[in-house]
Amino acid sequence: MKMLLSGNEAVARGAWEGGVLVSAAYPGTPSTEILENLAKYEEVRAEWSPNEKVAFEVALGAAIGGARATVSMKHVGLNVAADPLMSSAYSGINAGFLIISADDPGMHSSQNEQDNRILAKFAKIPVLEPSDSQEAHDFAKIGFRISEEFDTPVLLRLTTRISHTKCIVEVGEREKVEVKPYNKAVHKYILVPAHARKRHVAVEERLERLREFAEKTDLNRIEWGNPDIGIVTSGIAYQYAKEVMPEASFLKLGFSWPTPIDLVKKFSSQVKKLYVVEELEPFIEDALRAAGLEVTGKEVVPRINELSPRRVRVAFTGKELPHPEPEDVVSRPPVLCPGCPHIGIYWALRRLRATVMGDIGCYTLGFQEPLSAMDTCLEMGFSISGAHGLEKAQGKKFARKLVATIGDSTFLHSGMTGLMDIVYNKGTSTVVILDNRTTAMTGHQDHPATGKTAKGEPTKAIDFKELAHAIGVEKVFEIDPHNLKMTRKVLKEAMELDEPTVVIAKRPCVLLKEERKRLQAKPKKKIIPEKCKGETCRNCLTIGCSAIYWKDGKAWINPLLCVGCDLCQQLCPFGAIVEDVKDEN
């Protein structure tokens, strides 16, 4: 049967066909849909974990426990899971274990563009690089077999353009794979130094056997063409190179680490000039150079940013195709939704002139004008521990204006331990948990405080207030961030206290189903032009609601975008903003 599937859907389908039983993940673009799709298969025990380290360990535990398992995450997630990654390479597995990493060349929605093939090499495990959805599907199945044959975790490395490109895929049926018995094997699974020393020897031997496998597997294939140009390539770069240089000879590596050096040598001996075309780091290129091969790679193929047909064409021919000049167009960056619960907090923090250590999520957009209330956003969790460090550097007086803002999902991911640290080490910063009842940024996934599992089943929900108390925070405030006056007052009070404080801002994301329904029933707002004082006021513009626009010197509300939240109404000193009640006649 043929289906039109994205790379992520195809991986999920392939893993399902390959008999996966346990899948765990933490959301992150571009990887999120892998678990969302796995969760749709009845047979798969699919779970959202609080973070990638936990997800990795759940899947590893399942693999050691005899079930085929996957863990999926965005590239930076593997940094969080780096500890179990390194150990799992030594412990080996029992049933097939796939680590699915979706890298983000071009940083469409990420803070860096690290190349996780390097992490796999560092951990000494093999790398599979699909170049379209069909291969994503096939490699997931084959990955389980390689994993079991060599007793190793396998990294399946996707990139944004693989994950989010839909292609036609020939799919199959689910294989019957029995859960293997769990066998205690202390020499493998207890990595005390005496065992680990022996395991390191086994890992090196395994790498050598994997390289021999790479020389023979049909995951690596030669496509002969013009012998003047020989291109070694992998992943999406293969597609761009084929598009631009269809007549060249290709060595396409689906199994790129350990690199099949003998195969490359054979290929290279039959072409005049050898190129490597790969996205991001010179990963294959370095391996070839280390083997003494003469290649052209990153001198011509850019290392920064994602590749494209144009960039590959320029690398080979020095020219672009003729095309119209690009137009200079005002940008349209993403913005907070009208009525977003995060708006009120940033509006208040700006007025309080706070130093705000932000974090990653929809609420990162609070750094943009006109809210402009954020100083930092580096990686998940930095808001809280970073704020504590800043307080240690600048002192308690500085901390009276110091706030960490963190989303509910991000707090559970890696904020809790930072809060413990503030309490333990006598910090006094204020932590604001933006509890919008979801992981909004990545498309609204559940998490341990929403009361629902990845399979949609009801479950226990963490209570942030009790949690903060249990950690040792005595002053915990709960507010509705849509009440601007109260929000400002409570934040001010919390910041002034000379002790750790937590403010929980509770209001659901406006895109959640229930909330949407509730808002649809509410009247929208409109502005009475005669009452609007125009330039002398501009108060309602300070929340940056994208439903409000400025025209002919006055403010107006777009009824198609307004959700009727009333934030703007609270700010208009002239009563110009009113309910837009439909005239029944």
Partner: protein
């Protein structure tokens, strides 16, 4: 047949992903190899969104190269201009929805929404069509079928039979809206019946 390259552009929330899905499924149904690529994530919060659809005998790159798009189908005027350098300078066609969505910068009074978009497009493309999608969608009986009107217009430039489009629409849109969508498709398609 040379691979067909279609860019569909607009603003997050306008239904670009569903429109490009319909196009891709129709192309697949017509027996072509298909790839469609778009970036999710940040772009969804009212940011600009673009989808690349390519189909033909065998498609390698999912991304369209600058200067090679056969059609830019845009659900918003400014978003046509943003991708104009992808259009084939000789033969490319622009189909533009007659709709302006003001970017936040502009609504905040910083920067202006250009008033000369059509003139600028016409300088760079030989064939530019401005279509009031909502007007025809209302005629079809559902204002939310504007995208289907535009797909109907697009279908005139592609080697996919109308029956295949009809089948695809029936399979993919919410059952209650099938009738309006089919009407919308034909209203769009017939705009080019000389």
């Amino acid at each position: 047949m040379k691979t067909k390259n279609i860019i569909i552009s607009g603003v997050g929330g306008q239904g670009i992903i569903l429109a490009s899905e319909l196009l891709s499924l129709a192309a697949m149904e017509a027996g072509f190899d298909v790839k469609k690529s778009e970036v999710h994530g940040m772009s969804q919060r009212g940011g600009s969104v673009v989808s690349n659809v390519r189909f033909g005998e065998k498609v390698y790159s999912p991304l369209i190269e600058e200067g090679t798009a056969d059609v830019i189908l845009s659900f918003e005027k400014l978003e046509t201009l943003r991708w104009i350098h992808f259009l084939n300078p000789q033969s490319g066609v622009c189909i533009v929805n007659d709709l302006e969505i003001i970017p936040v910068q502009v609504s905040q009074g910083k920067g202006e929404y250009p008033g000369d978009i059509m003139e600028r497009l016409k300088k760079k493309a030989s064939r530019v069509y401005l279509i009031d999608g909502v007007k025809y969608a209302l005629q079809a009986g559902n204002p939310r079928t504007a995208n289907t009107v535009l797909l109907g217009a697009l279908s005139n430039f592609l080697p996919i039979e109308p029956e295949i489009w009809e089948e695809t629409i029936k399979k993919r849109v919410p059952p209650k809206t099938i009738e309006a969508n089919l009407k919308a498709f034909w209203l769009g398609r017939d705009l080019f019946k000389d």
